[in-house]
Symmetry: none
Subunit: 459 residues, 2 copies
């Protein structure tokens, strides 16, 4: 079964690319209500692809938010074959700032071996690679080497609000021996990655309200506290300017220290300062003092201000004391911090700091638990073998800096190991203008998953 | 001369109101190019009024922007009579948001004793009151009791770009013993105001640039300094959270302390905390500790953040480390601070504080000098006497919290005292929808200026 599938994948690269481009043309931005119908179209597109390749049982399942695509393949062979649950998402990030896109976000542009489009890397391109591997088996042998369940959602970029209850409600249906997720970067085309943990996240809004309406800063300046002035003080009080440590009382209390073995594993990753400078284009690296870059971006918690709404930001000047100012902030969390505890600590500390001249409201708008996996589990080691066959290189073991709430939820709800692989590159500009995907990784990714299904069938 | 002029003014209220309404029908919005010809029509209307009342020497003078109206009256009496320069403006603010006007902005509507129209209070109504006083003399005695020069501009609402070079180029022609400006509010109909100073202003943009492009806060969070995190720390470092004093080194060095007499004069103004709370709707008053409200909003410098551009401020969440963040800030300045010195101090301090992980740029986008006038100058005291005759109430002496660059320019260029009076009310909604003017103030304003010309002729 293996070789015909590999041959098929190699012979059909153009067809796979072309079909992926059709998917990328659907602006399935999950966070903006105007794009709801596009998210649904992206779901229908995936379902149709699964049906076309011969998956026997494909459904679009409604949620209170965007729909879920669910498919199931029960191998006709003896039932002792293992079951793999494949997870992915077909929604994408917004495209702002629009004017920094030098190619249209939703009209895929091919330049050399690179495909530009929103979602090309995160995550349509990677999900497509997994689905194309299934197609390669089904179109050559008429069957898959294992049992497969497929679960694709349209709310990953908005922290999967519908998926979590769905998982709990369908836990019996979704039982599997392992869960495969392809939604991450390699270090470079020679360094595939196995992720053995992700950071959690607490995303919050901090709103400061002062006067009942905007005031003229000449007439009233000095008479009232400006909500923006108060807000920048509150935000500045959350992080030390020298050490960049978070100053919320108790914030580090539950942070798990690395074992020597874990620290050594992380140190093997070629995440050096030169790479960091190259990838970010920053004048200098930053972040928490006392930890190497590889740890700062993966196993240390952070605090980020993402933007502040309110007041006047147009051209020229307007002398306004705004009635309110609202910051969006987030904190990446590491084992064993929990978003609930950190949110309560944040809220308490801000209310403690806030003067009585304004009203303060702190809202959690996103929560994700940190996760650490057993990198020696057989389903994970199967990925290492498959990477070596697909890419010709052994993988690097990394802890991920981003957050995948779904990983925590799946492990907690389905009690199965999660295997995190991926075919993106660090400069793919996921979540930024001019997102792109390196096509050799796309094709090697397809072959890697073909190998994975083969190796996994024997564990 | 005085009594016939007063009688004439009283007998011709309806005529004056009617002619003012014609002026208000001209939509002389200076900021929008489509209204350029309307601004010129408003200039021509004023020139024609001056000619009709018998002013011998009236000109429309071109600038690179909107035209200036200049008129001159040399008294045939012995030349030791003082000369008064009258300044005003005939341009108005835009009318947006249009849908909040419940009366048409350019079709004056009379309701009881209130006249609704854009420009009714700011400044056509007040300028007309001054011109009608001249008319009252000229139509009864055939002459004015003093020498008069009249300078009306059409760019006040766009910070007078043509007037400043005009003043410098025509300084000799514009020499006067005092400059009268009627473009301000009374506290209420029983409390006319003499303004004896205004604050200056420095309006600046502070831009922090970090990574070359937006980054994912999961992948890179902890690796680079977030420009927003740095910017909020820089902004927070500019103002003490307890005292609300500006922390820029040297900021207060040149601030002139009030004399006991000045402090007592400011304390007479009915600007109490209850009024401040009522007008702002803030949960509590704020601003610099140790000074009463009346001083904080007029003779103490401030620091305000007006808005911060960059990053993500839409609905929902986006986990971005923005490439840059740009704050708009301003500082109200008091005698003897200068916007240039404060800008340099701000820039130096921010560059001193800024870490090498980001690039910093500080730009001045608006500068206005603070001004303090001698409220005991004879030309100013003449206004106090005239107010009492015109309104039946002694004036309140106030220092203004806003900035009027034209006042500083006139004092510096023409070396003459400025007398700031006005007949508006605080709820006239100047610059807002449904601007209005209280007509009893209009008529009393005409009589006040008739008295002023009489009193001023004897100083």
């Amino acid at each position: 079964m293996l070789d015909p599938a590999l041959d098929y994948a190699r012979a059909n690269r153009q067809t796979h690319l072309s079909r992926l481009c059709h998917w990328l043309r659907i602006p399935s931005i999950s966070t903006t209500p105007e794009h709801s119908s596009d998210v649904r179209r992206a779901a229908e597109f995936a379902a149709q692809y699964l049906r076309d390749m011969g998956m026997p049982d494909v459904e679009i399942r409604e949620t209170t938010g965007h729909p879920i695509v669910y498919a199931r393949y029960a191998n006709p062979q003896p039932s002792n074959l293992p079951t793999l649950l494949i997870y992915g998402h077909f929604d994408v990030q917004p495209t702002d700032p629009e004017d920094e896109w030098t190619r249209p976000p939703f009209e895929p542009t091919l330049e050399g071996e690179t495909l530009y489009a929103r979602g090309a890397s995160d995550d349509k391109g990677q999900v497509f690679a997994v689905l194309a591997a299934l197609e390669s088996y089904l179109k050559t042998s008429g069957r898959l080497p294992v049992n497969v369940k497929i679960l694709l959602e349209g709310e990953e970029e908005i922290t999967s609000p519908s998926l979590f209850p769905y998982l709990r409600a369908h836990a019996d249906e979704l039982t599997a021996d392992a869960i495969l997720i392809a939604d991450q970067d390699m270090l470079d085309p020679q360094h595939p990655v196995i992720m053995w943990g992700v950071r959690g996240n607490l995303y919050a809004e901090i709103e400061v309200r002062g006067p009942a309406h905007d005031l003229h800063s000449g007439t009233f300046g000095g008479g009232v506290d400006n909500p923006f002035n108060v807000l920048v003080r509150l935000l500045a009080a959350l992080q030390d300017g020298e050490t960049r440590r978070v100053l919320i009382p108790g914030f580090y209390d539950s942070v798990e220290e690395l074992t020597d073995e874990e620290r050594a594993l992380i140190a093997q990753a070629p995440i050096h300062d030169g790479v960091g400078l190259y990838l970010t284009g920053a004048p200098a690296l930053g972040g928490e003092t006392g930890y190497p870059l590889a740890e700062r971006v993966s196993v240390r918690p952070t605090f980020e201000v993402h933007g502040i709404a309110g007041g006047f930001t147009g051209a020229g000047s307007k002398t306004v004391i705004p009635a309110k100012a609202t910051a969006k902030v987030s904190m990446r969390l590491v084992p064993r911090q929990t978003p609930d505890e950190v949110f309560e600590a944040l809220k308490s500390y801000l209310h403690f700091l806030c003067p009585p001249t304004v009203k303060l409201e702190v809202r959690a708008i996103g929560k994700a638990h940190p996760v650490k996996m057993d990198y020696q589990a057989p389903a994970v080691q199967a990925a290492a073998v498959s990477y070596e066959k697909g890419f010709g290189h052994k993988p690097i073991y990394l802890r991920g800096g981003g957050s995948l709430p779904i990983v925590y939820e799946m492990i907690e709800t389905l009690k199965a190991p999660v295997v995190m692989i991926g075919f993106g590159l660090p400069d793919d500009r996921t979540h930024s203008p001019n997102e792109k995907f390196f096509l050799p990784n796309f094709y090697r990714g397809i072959e890697t998953v073909i190998h994975y299904l083969d190796v996994f069938s024997k564990i």
